[in-house]
């Protein structure tokens, strides 16, 4: 009986050791992952302002079509449309898409010319978790317009 209790005490200690080891691993793990700290709305905003040349962005003119709930974060369809006549005098120069909660905020930059004719672009993107997707358009006169939309992601699409 005493032997038994001893054993269980020993096991208990092992469990504690194991838990400690797991904890240490977890810390080491988090250190490893520090390279992949998720983007935050702030870093995303910074990345976006860098892309758009630091100008003040106004909300509007840009529309994002995204699923409300994305079952698979690996391929999330997105359509960006911008209210612009797309003439030589007034067109969309560039469109930037940024994901606020991905390991890296940048998604894609489109460079447009007046001969695009219609500023409607579709693609497919990866989303790591439920987050806001931001699209910003730089017009030919230098003004910047943006919009953001929340997407719920069931299974993240950025791998381990």
């Amino acid at each position: 009986m005493t032997e038994n209790t001893n054993k269980s005490a020993l096991l208990g200690r092992r469990d504690v050791l194991r838990a400690a080891a797991a904890g240490a691993l977890a810390i080491a793990g988090s250190g490893l992952f520090s390279r992949h700290v998720l983007a935050t709305p702030e870093t995303a905003a910074r990345a976006l302002s860098k892309l758009t040349g630091g100008g003040t962005a106004q909300e509007g003119k840009v529309f994002l079509k995204l699923p409300e709930i994305a079952d698979d974060g690996n391929t999330v369809p997105v359509t960006i449309s911008i209210d612009s006549p797309m003439t030589e005098a007034n067109y969309v120069k560039a469109v930037h898409v940024v994901a606020e909660g991905n390991p890296r905020p940048g998604v894609v930059t489109f460079n447009l010319s007046p001969s695009v004719g219609k500023a409607v672009i579709s693609t497919r993107m990866r989303l790591h978790k439920t987050q806001n997707v931001v699209a910003a358009a730089v017009m030919s006169d230098g003004s910047v317009y943006f919009t953001k939309k929340m997407v719920k992601v069931t299974i993240g699409g950025c791998g381990g």
Binding site: H36, N74, T75, V76, T79, M86, A99, N102, P103, R104, G106, V107, V108, T109, F110, N111, L112, S113, P114, S115, V116, G117, K118, A119, V120, I121, S122, T123, R124, M125, R126, L127, G157, C158, G159, G160
Partner: protein, 109 residues
């Protein structure tokens, strides 16, 4: 993974001044560089197509700079206004600098 043959959808004919839709798809893993090999625990190096360019008769119409968050097998749908017959040239470039080129003719009346 090398880039494979792309797919493109461009109308064969159009009226002068018409805005047409172009769709492109290319098969590529688009390895993000932040995914780990489950066996070795090591990071799989980044390998994505980072640039796509569409030009018409030698003049750039539309291009995309891709980052890691573009899904595997990059797909784009966009528009172009055509005023003359000619050729659309498409180029995809990956992280190694490898390129794939393809083109489509359009007759404008």
């Amino acid at each position: 993974m090398a880039i494979t043959k792309p797919r493109m959808k461009v109308p064969e004919t159009a009226k002068k001044g018409e805005v047409i839709q172009i769709k492109t798809l290319i098969f590529h893993d688009m390895e993000t560089g932040i995914r780990k090999d489950k066996k070795t625990g090591k990071l799989i190096p980044r390998m994505i197509i980072n640039k796509f360019v569409c030009s018409f008769n030698g003049k750039e119409v539309f291009s995309a700079n891709m980052h890691r968050a573009i899904a595997a097998n990059p797909y784009f749908a966009f528009h172009a206004r055509v005023t003359e017959s000619g050729t659309f040239d498409f180029t995809w470039t990956d992280d190694k600098g490898e390129t794939v080129k393809a083109s489509r003719q359009i007759a404008v009346t």
